[in-house]
């Protein structure tokens, strides 16, 4: 079982991003996903900077993957996408535009969690297109993986999000700008002030969601560490851990120890519902 560092979902100052990945090169992860997947207006690192970072990290012995934007709207975003696809690294395709560019070039790719792969027929089509690894959609759990296996269809490598706030939705609207009463086109890059997103609570103060620009995330962190044995039994090959502003080294260390020792860690995050086939916000404690 391998550990992957998922793409950074938040908007951090350039120096913070570079420091994070310099540290990551020494962390015990097997794969590092790089790139802006949420908002093309976030340009502390431009496309060429992400590619340069990938080149720099390529010598670290880690598999380096470039991740694409989940929601593309503008022509300029298509141009950035083409530059990522042509950069010579493996690519995580996070929408069908990326799949099409990769397929046209005959390049193998990783299917990201926003591709909507719900059955083996879809999976077969994407494998024909060049998909070699599938990052399961966030609402997919054990039952889907079991059904994939039962279908008899050859399966690619399977990766699941095992740690972090799950991306729940994307919009044309920027919710951070809306919360600050700013126009999206003149947002002042205020996401920089929220390195782990902007918390959203119910009217009675219960933490509920996290606003992250045009993306909405969970408030609680998904944690499938305690499910380690089930994940292994289901044939999950890679565990994705999403970056957070503080304590990432400890998060990775906890999973590394668990994989190496085969002993599942005590629960640290708040949610695991999707893996168990229920509402994602729930936490199912195994008997």
């Amino acid at each position: 079982m391998r550990l992957t560092l998922g793409p950074l979902q938040y908007f951090w100052p350039r120096e913070q991003v570079l420091a994070f990945y310099r540290a990551a090169a020494a962390w015990p992860v097997d794969v590092i996903y790089l790139g802006e997947t949420v908002c093309s207006k976030r340009r502390e690192l431009r496309t060429r900077d992400w590619i340069a970072l990938a080149e720099e990290l390529a010598g670290s012995g880690r598999e380096i993957v470039l991740s694409t934007l989940a929601l593309l709207e503008a022509e300029s975003e298509m141009s950035s996408l083409a530059r990522l696809v042509d950069a010579g690294f493996r690519v995580e395709a996070n929408d069908m535009s990326a799949v099409q560019l990769l397929r046209e070039r005959g390049l193998p790719f990783i299917g990201g969690p926003t591709l909507n792969v719900y059955n083996h027929a879809t999976l077969r089509l994407l494998r024909e297109d060049g998909l070699q690894r599938l990052v399961l959609g966030i609402e997919h759990g054990r039952a889907l993986v079991e059904e994939f296996r039962a279908s008899g269809e050859p399966l690619p490598e399977l990766e699941i999000t095992a740690w972090g706030r799950l991306p729940l939705a994307y919009s044309a609207r920027c919710f951070t700008a809306r919360a600050l009463d700013l126009a999206k086109d003149d947002c002042g890059f205020r996401c920089l002030e929220h390195p782990d997103g902007l918390p959203l609570a119910s009217r009675e103060g219960t933490p509920f969601l996290t606003i992250n620009g045009i993306q909405v995330q969970t408030s609680g962190r998904c944690d499938l560490g305690p499910e380690l044995a089930e994940l292994r039994a289901a044939g999950i090959g890679l565990l994705r851990l999403y970056p957070q502003a503080a304590g990432m080294a400890e998060v990775i260390e906890r999973f590394r120890r668990a994989i190496d020792s085969g002993v599942a860690p005590a629960r640290a995050g708040e949610e695991n519902g999707y893996w168990h086939g229920t509402a994602g916000m729930q936490c199912v404690t195994s008997p």
Partner: protein, 332 residues
């Protein structure tokens, strides 16, 4: 420009046709479509009659099969494609690639439209679906500005349909897990958003009503405050010390004033949302859009929307408010 109207029931279908819809879209009575609500949708007999009614008047019937089956459910979705084909519908509206592929191979003569749930927002994504499954049309997600819609039309990859009026999904369709996160029931898999069985209304002694979804508070309303259906995206929440509609207020999309631009861009069809709405809604909204499209055809010079049309549409809008939504750049 074709007017494509919703029909959640046989009376709604008839209302749409009688008021000038060029096509209606319907769903079967199961989870194969994105409005799988109790009491809604068509049995096979309903659909046979509905198709006869529409075809007898030179109109078309599309069947939405736009949810995503899991491996075990794929057979049922394929059977629904076969059923739609054998009943003689004019097109199926699909999102799942496995379903599209099956339809393209088994029923090549049956037109396939890419559902809004397919989340195709660029020329490259549209090319994918055209090359892979020979789609005849794509419905664009409600995330693009009017300029972006115009540019996509210029590419002429596949004829495009856009949303014209109705409840506004604030998130990219096919990519929203808010309902799934709170209830476990998702638009993609189950064809429902925030299903009623998870909704709970409680009245406090002072008359304040609390509405929660699977135990999570979505909003609270003062005694005389109008209260809408509690989808997660339209609740009021606390962010940074303020309580407001942090994601979206209850409002409906209304693009009537953009009609000339949509036509000039080459958009082939306008979609009215609302298979969950009644016959009166369908009749009235269809009627307004029919008049608007017809007047644009016969008297394009100086076309502008009638105030009476806008009043009528606002009457049917969520919270009686309408917006141009993402079509308009300044929307936030």
């Amino acid at each position: 420009m074709h007017l494509v109207c919703p029909a959640g029931s046989p009376p709604a279908l008839q209302a749409a046709i009688d008021n000038g819809a060029d096509a209606v879209y319907v769903g079967f009575r199961d989870q194969t479509n994105a409005r799988a609500f109790p009491g809604l949708n068509f049995t096979e007999v309903d659909l046979v009659n509905g198709i006869a009614y529409a075809h007898g008047r030179g109109r078309k019937v599309y069947v939405a099969l736009n949810t995503y089956p899991g491996p075990a459910g794929l057979g049922a979705w394929r059977a629904a494609v076969d059923r739609a084909a054998s009943l003689g519908v004019d097109a199926i509206i699909c999102a799942d690639m496995g379903v599209l592929d099956y339809a393209a191979r088994r029923h090549p003569g049956l037109a396939r439209h890419l559902s809004v749930q397919g989340s195709a927002t660029t020329h490259a994504a549209l090319r994918y679906y055209r090359e892979r499954f020979g789609i005849a049309r794509a419905v664009l997600p409600r995330v693009l500005s009017i300029q972006q819609v115009e540019r996509l039309c210029e590419r002429e990859i596949v004829p495009l349909e856009v949303f014209a009026f109705g409840s506004l999904c604030i998130m990219v369709e096919g990519r929203c897990q808010l309902s799934s996160y709170v209830t476990g029931a998702s638009p993609n898999r189950h064809g429902v958003c925030s299903p009623a069985k998870f909704v709970r209304w409680d009245e406090e002694p002072d008359g304040v009503r609390r509405v929660s979804l699977n135990g999570r508070l979505i909003d609270r309303f003062a005694p005389h405050e109008p209260a809408g259906y509690p989808t997660v995206c339209k609740g009021r929440y606390a962010v940074g010390g303020e309580t407001f509609h942090a994601l979206e207020e209850p409002t409906s999309l209304n693009t009537l004033e953009l009609l000339p631009r949509l036509q000039a861009a080459g958009v082939v069809a306008l979609k009215i949302e609302g298979r969950q709405r009644g016959q009166a809604y369908v009749a009235s909204v269809t009627n307004v859009w029919r008049q608007a499209i017809d007047r644009l055809r016969t008297r394009p010079q100086g076309w502008s929307p009638d105030a009476a049309w806008q009043r009528e549409l606002a009457r049917h809008a969520e919270g009686h408010q309408t917006t141009l939504g993402p079509y308009h750049r300044s929307w936030h």
